[in-house]
């Protein structure tokens, strides 16, 4: 079994909620380290590079937060995955 430990996303979002709101909402999902970089600002939207890292990143939950805040996930640019060997009684 493998777990996602880092994703790098390309996201388009309206100016509101702010980058800080989005980063905090993602950070609240778990014990994640979130880094957001604004790549481009347009009249009504901004393009972001979002990096979320943690011991076990829940990608579905990240997608939900992004969608709920009115943003759109354009692409998943990088993924880090770790293999986890399950104990025999956990299987």
């Amino acid at each position: 079994m493998s777990v996602v430990t880092r994703v790098l996303l390309d996201v388009l979002k309206p100016h509101d909620p702010s980058v800080l709101d989005l980063a905090c909402a993602l950070g609240n999902l778990g014990d994640y380290r979130v880094r957001v970089r604004v790549l481009e600002m347009d009249k009504k939207t901004e393009t972001l590079e979002i990096e979320v890292a943690g011991a076990d990143v829940d990608f579905e939950a990240i997608q939900t937060v992004i969608r709920d805040l009115g943003a759109a996930l354009h692409s998943v640019d990088e993924v880090d995955v770790s293999g986890v060997t399950l104990a025999p009684d956990a299987e």
Binding site: P14, P17, D68, G70
Partner: protein
């Protein structure tokens, strides 16, 4: 608490705090001046029974409240839907189910409630001396004059609130709105007698 935080968030992303404040003052001022005008009209007319005054003022109060709620709801809904469509176009994506769609649904309702409740509550406050007098509770002034004093005080306080919002001198702003009310009183007395 969570609901309040959620509503605060929706107001923030839709930049609606300023609009709500503006609606509160504008329609509250409308309500106070309407009541002031009605009460002065009754003072000038003379010898109108108190229940008639209360009935007429209450009718105007309810009409102001309903008008405030319905007009703000209809106009704000149209504006928010348009803003949502513009944003969807810029995003090239549907925003249904997002915080923006929720804001487009709930913010007009909140603004409408503020717009309707401001004149309603302010008018009811101005009518309080009339009810007290009607219930036989003694007042320091005749009921209509007391209601007029309350109306002038509320109009002054609305000015103070505006001064606070603008970061200007509160008493100067209060005196400005009071001056508008006194001009209204002057006009009514001039034309009504």
């Amino acid at each position: 608490m969570n609901l309040l935080r959620e509503l605060g968030f929706l107001l923030r992303i839709s930049h609606s705090h300023g609009i709500m404040r503006r609606y509160f003052v504008v329609n509250g001022f409308d309500g106070a001046l309407t009541m002031l005008g009605l009460i002065l009209g009754f003072i000038v007319t003379d010898r109108v029974p108190l229940p008639v005054v209360i009935g007429a003022c209450l009718g105007a109060t309810i009409a102001l409240g309903v008008s405030g709620v319905s007009s703000a709801y209809l106009s704000e809904t149209a504006e928010r839907q348009r803003a949502l469509s513009d944003l969807e176009e810029a995003m090239a994506n549907s925003l249904q189910g997002s915080a923006h769609a929720q804001a487009a649904r709930w913010v007009p309702l909140l603004i409408a409630l503020v717009n309707g409740s401001a004149p309603l509550l302010i008018s009811l406050l101005i009518l309080t001396p009339l009810w007290l007098a009607d219930a036989g509770i003694p007042l320091p002034l005749p009921a209509l004059h007391m209601a007029m004093v309350v109306a002038l005080l509320i109009i002054f306080l609305l000015g103070v609130f505006l001064g606070h919002v603008a970061g200007n001198s509160w008493w100067r702003s209060g005196l400005q709105t009071l001056l508008v009310a006194l001009v209204t009183v002057g006009l009514i007395l001039l034309l009504g007698t």
